[in-house]
Amino acid sequence: MLARHAESLFWTGRYLERAEDTARILDVTYHGLLESPPHEAQQSWLDLLVVLNVEKDFVRRKLPLDASAVSEFLVLDPTAGGAIVSAVGRARENARSVRELVSTEFWEAVNSFYLELQARDLHNDLTQQPYELYGLVKRRCQTVAGVAAETMPRDDGWRFLMLGWMLERAEMTCRLLNVRYSELASVAEVDRFHVLLGVLKSASSSEAFRKVYGASMDPAHLVEFLLLARNIPRSVLYCLRQAEKDLLRLGPADELGPPQRLLGRIRSELEFLDVPELLTDGLHEMLDHIQACVREVANAIAFQYFRNLQVEITPVAFTPAAEPVGPD
C-alpha cells in the first residue's frame, strides 16, 4: 500500500486512542481530587501535565494550576497536540485522507464523533458535567473501535491502524500508572481502595481485577495487572503483543526489521519482569523506559514503512532529450 496511506491510518489509530486515554486520565484525576485539599490537588495536576509531557506548554500559557484550567487545556486547547478536541480533529483529518481505504461506517463514526464535539458547548460540559463529557469521549472512541473491528478488512491498512492504536495505548497506560502510582504507594491503607479503584476504572478493568485478585489492595497487584496481564486489552504487555503480531505480518516476510526487533526486545523484557523487584528498583524508571522504547519502535516503523525510499532522491534538473523545436 501507499506509504502515505499507511502513515495516515497509523495516526488515525494513535489520535483516537490518545483522545480516549486523555479522557480516562482526566476523569480519574478530576474525580479522585474532589476531596483533596487544594495544595495536594495542585501537585497532582502538575504530575498529570508532566506525565502527558505537556507541562511546558501549559506553563507557557500562564494558566492557574487548578482543575478547570488543566481540564480546559487538555480538552480544548488547540495548541496542545494531545488535547481531546484536537486529537479527534487530527484523527478525522487522517481518516479523511484515507477515506477510500476505510469502510464508510468507520469514516462516518469518526466524522460524527468529531461533529458532535464541535456542536457541544464544551466549556459548559467541563464546568457542569465533566463526567458526562469524558464518558461520551470514551463511548464514542469505543464505538469507533467496534465499528472498525466489524467493518474493516484484515489487510495491511487494518494492521497499520491497529499498530498505531496499540502503541499509543501501551504508552498511555504507562502514563496512567505513572501519574497515580506514587500516590497509591504513599497514601494510608484506608484510602488506597479509593485510588486503586479509580485507576482500574479508568482502564475499564476493575471487574477483571477483582476476578483475579479478589479484594486485594496491594499496589503491586495493580502494577502487575496493568503492566503484565496477558488477557486484559488495556495492559501494556497485551498491547505490545498485539502490535508485534501485526508488525510480523507486515513483514518483510523472511527477516526481522528494526521495528520488529525493537518491539520484540521490550515485549520480552516485560514478560520476564519481576514485579516486587521492579517496585523496589523504581517503577517510574521502568515506565519511562517502556515509553521511550515504544517511541523508538514508532520511529523505526516510520523509517521502515512510511519513508522507505531505497534510493537517494536528488532533484532532477530538467534536461530535455531534444531541444524543443516549435513552429514559431
Binding site: 501507499l2 502515505r4 497499520f160 513483514g251 522507505n308 532533484p315 532532477v316 530538467f318 516549435g326 514559431d328
Partner: protein, 492 residues
C-alpha cells in the same frame, strides 16, 4: 388509460425543440413507454422516490464541494428522475461523429507536438493562432504518447438546436469530469425507479472503469510488461476528488498524490510500505501547470519534480497528454471541421455551432453590430465562466465586451445563440420544460470508443441556459436504446 391526474397535465413545450413531445404534441415514439410508466406514479409517490434518491446519493457521498466558507460545503448534484432517452439511430450518428472528431483531434495534437506540423505547414490552421493559444505547451514538444492517444479521455459537449440538430458546443480535452455522475445516476435510477426501465433494451455504462483501465494500459510504454497504472489527484480538497477516488476504485488502482511519487533516473516510482514501486501510466487529474515544478510552476506542491523528463524519456505515459489545451481553445474549435477534412478526408458528421473569429476584420465588424444577438466567450475558459449571452445582457455589459474584443480579438469568439432543446423535468408535483445539453465521454485506447450516452446536464432554473453544477444545474440519467429487444428476465 391515464390516471385522474397526471404529472404531465398542462405540460407545454412553448415552441422549443422538446425531447419528449413531438411537433404534433404527441409523445415521441422512443419516450412512449417511459411516459406511460411515469404517468402511473402519483405526485406523492414521485416525491417519495425523490427522497429515496437524495438519501442514496448522500450516503454514497456523491458530492461536489462549493468553496467560500471555511470547510467548504458538500452538495449533492441533483439528478432529475425523468431520464433522457436517445434512440439507437440518433446515437449511431452521434457516436460516429464523436469518433471522427476525436480521431482527428488526436492526430492534430500528435502532428503538433511530435509530428511534422503538417496542418500548420499546409495552412489549415494559422501558425500564430497555435502559438498564441494559452493551452499551447512548448514543454510538450517531443514527448511521445504511444499510439498517439493524446485525448485518452475526451468530453465533447453536444447541444441540440431548435431544428433538433446535434451540434458540438465545445471540446474538453484536458481533464473532463462528470463520468462518475453518469455511472452513479444509472445505479440510482435502477434502485429508485426500477419499473421505468420496462421492456426497452438500454445500453449499459458500467463497463467504463474496465474500458478506461484497458485504454490506459494500452498507452503504457512499450517496455512495461504488465503496466502499473495510477490515478494522480490534487488531493482531498479538490472539488472533483470524489470522482478521482471513484475512478481509482472502479479500476482497482492506487489513487496517488504528487508527494507519493518520486522520479529517479527518469523513472517514476510510488512510495509504498514495501519500498518503491515502478509506475508506468499516470491518469492525472491535475492541470498541466501543476504537474511538474521543474518546467512549470515552481510553487506547485501538487506535482512531481522530474515527471516531464521521465515522460520525455519514454519511461512513463501521462494521460491526458500535456498541451491538449491548444486543441480545445475555442478559437481553434472553429477550425476543427477543417481539421477533420484535412486529416481524415471526410465531411464532419457533427457540425459546430456557427462561430465567428474576431481577428478577421469582416467578421468582427459584423459581430460588433450584432453583439446583442450573439454569445461571446473567452477562448480558454471552460464551465461557462466569463461569457456574455447577448440577448440577456445589459447595454453596459455589451459595451464592455465590445471594448474587450477590440482590445484582444484573439481572446474571444462569438457564436450564434443556440436555443438548447428542452426536456420535461420534475418540478414539485408536475413537469416543466428545462434546457439540457449532453457530455458524452470518448476513450482513445486500442480504438476510439464512446460510452453510450454521457452526462445530460439540465438547467434547473426556469428559462436558464446555464447547466453548470455551480449555477443551479442538475443532471439526468441518459439512456441509449439498443435496437435489440431485451431477452426475458435480463436485468436492465
Amino acid at each position: 388509460m391515464s390516471p385522474a391526474r397526471s404529472i404531465f397535465d398542462g405540460y407545454d413545450p412553448q415552441g422549443f425543440f422538446d425531447e419528449v413531445i413531438g411537433p404534433t404534441s404527441l409523445v415521441r415514439a422512443h419516450y412512449r413507454e417511459v411516459v406511460e410508466r411515469l404517468s402511473l406514479l402519483s405526485p406523492e409517490e414521485l416525491s417519495r422516490r425523490e427522497r429515496l434518491r437524495d438519501r442514496a446519493f448522500r450516503s454514497a457521498g456523491i458530492t461536489f464541494t462549493l468553496y467560500g466558507e471555511g470547510d467548504g460545503i458538500e452538495r449533492t448534484f441533483p439528478m432529475d428522475l425523468v431520464p433522457r432517452i436517445i434512440p439507437a439511430d440518433e446515437w449511431e450518428h452521434i457516436e460516429a461523429g464523436l469518433i471522427q472528431r476525436v480521431t482527428a483531434l488526436n492526430q492534430f495534437l500528435d502532428d503538433l507536438y511530435v509530428g511534422e506540423r503538417a496542418a500548420v505547414k499546409d495552412k489549415i490552421v494559422p501558425q500564430w493562432l497555435i502559438v498564441s493559444s494559452p493551452g499551447f505547451e512548448r514543454h510538450a514538444f517531443g514527448i511521445p504518447v504511444p499510439r498517439g492517444a493524446r485525448c485518452l479521455v475526451a468530453g465533447i459537449d453536444i447541444v441540440r438546436d431548435a431544428a433538433g440538430t446535434y451540434r458540438v458546443l465545445e471540446d474538453n480535452l484536458r481533464n473532463p469530469s462528470g463520468i462518475s455522475y453518469v455511472l452513479e445516476n444509472r445505479a440510482a435510477m435502477t434502485r429508485v425507479l426500477p419499473t421505468l426501465f420496462g421492456s426497452q433494451h438500454i445500453r449499459s455504462v458500467d463497463h467504463y472503469g474496465a474500458s478506461l483501465l484497458s485504454a490506459l494500459r494500452h498507452v503504457a510504454p512499450a517496455a512495461a510488461g504488465d503496466p502499473t497504472v495510477v490515478v494522480l489527484t490534487p488531493g482531498v480538497f479538490n472539488s472533483a476528488y470524489f470522482e478521482h477516488a471513484f475512478l481509482a476504485r472502479q479500476m482497482g488502482v492506487e489513487l496517488v498524490e504528487g508527494p507519493d511519487l518520486v522520479v529517479d533516473e527518469h523513472v517514476v516510482f510510488m512510495r509504498t510500505t514495501r519500498g518503491l514501486e515502478r509506475v508506468d501510466v499516470i491518469y492525472r487529474r491535475i492541470d498541466d501547470d501543476f504537474l511538474d515544478p521543474v518546467p512549470f510552476r515552481s510553487d506547485s506542491v501538487l506535482g512531481v519534480p522530474g515527471l516531464l523528463a521521465a515522460a520525455r524519456a519514454g519511461n512513463v505515459t501521462i494521460a491526458n497528454a500535456i498541451g491538449n489545451g491548444v486543441a480545445d481553445d475555442k478559437a481553434v474549435y472553429a477550425y476543427v471541421p477543417d481539421l477533420i477534412r484535412y486529416y481524415l478526408n471526410e465531411e464532419p458528421l457533427l457540425p459546430n455551432v456557427d462561430t465567428y473569429i474576431l481577428w478577421d476584420e469582416d467578421q468582427r465588424s459584423m459581430c460588433r453590430e450584432r453583439l446583442d444577438e450573439l454569445v461571446v466567450k473567452p477562448v480558454s475558459a471552460s464551465g461557462g465562466y466569463g461569457m456574455m449571452i447577448g440577448p440577456s445582457a445589459s447595454d453596459a455589459e455589451i459595451e464592455l465586451f465590445r471594448k474587450r474584443i477590440d482590445a484582444n480579438p484573439r481572446g474571444y469568439i462569438a457564436q450564434e445563440v443556440v436555443q438548447l432543446s428542452r426536456h420535461p423535468t420534475l418540478v414539485g408535483d408536475h413537469m416543466e420544460g428545462r434546457h439540457i445539453d449532453l457530455r458524452p465521454f470518448v476513450l482513445s485506447g486500442e480504438q476510439v470508443e464512446v460510452i453510450p450516452g454521457g452526462l445530460t446536464r439540465v438547467a434547473l432554473r426556469r428559462d436558464s441556459l446555464v447547466v453548470n453544477s455551480s449555477q443551479g444545474g442538475g443532471s439526468k440519467d441518459t439512456w441509449v436504446l439498443s435496437e435489440a429487444p431485451r431477452a426475458q428476465g435480463e436485468a436492465p
